[in-house]
Symmetry: C2
Subunit: 122 residues, 2 copies
């Protein structure tokens, strides 16, 4: 029943869960066999919920704020731009693409950003 | 030599070629076996340069302006947001994701937008 999924609500839940900072909670939003590539192009793809939790462990504990800037839905996929502010000191603007299964779990996530999208805050 | 590709320049060339309006010229930016999905989620994927040219034939002749709003590169992929203005009457803001081969040809294009991203002008 993918038509019934509110992908923008799922993306907002994802962003608020990332900001809340618990790696296990973020990983729980992903399907068991999901894939995560962040940033795209660095050559590393995290496969499976356990590996994905490990990825989010790296940023656990940081004071993070998230803000959805633009959102596009297409079928069971979403593309969106958002800003992450870390410890009030650094702002990163990212474009992500996510696919979802019919249960609303994230099956793949790809994050597009680079050093040129990171701003040091005054 | 993907590291040598300037993906932002390739995306800007794509957008200006779309605005120039010749379907064959836009199709020539794609690899022979490229895929195109626009919009994502409508269930139709155009496969191969000839089918892609057919897709762009649909909009040939319209007076189109394009403007790159945000750009992210990741390896041989790019994600970007842009605005298309059609006949000065309609503005569409789209997020696209493209992959490129080492010759700089587009191997896949996915466009994320929907009716909610179309604004009637003036």
């Amino acid at each position: 029943m993918s038509d019934a999924l509110d992908l923008e609500a799922l993306v907002n839940r994802y962003l608020s869960t990332v900001a809340a900072g618990k790696a296990a909670d973020v990983a729980a939003l992903y399907a068991e066999d999901a894939t995560l590539e962040d940033p795209v192009g660095c050559g590393e793809v995290h496969i499976g919920r356990q590996a994905i939790e490990g990825f989010y462990k790296n940023v656990e504990g940081a004071e993070v704020k998230s803000e959805l800037l633009s959102f596009r839905a297409g079928g069971t996929e979403a593309a969106f731009m958002f800003a992450l502010t870390v410890a009030g000191a650094m702002r990163i603007e990212v474009i992500e693409v996510m696919a979802f299964n019919t249960d609303g779990e994230i099956t793949s996530m790809k994050a597009y950003w680079g050093p040129e999208n990171v701003t040091q805050l005054g």
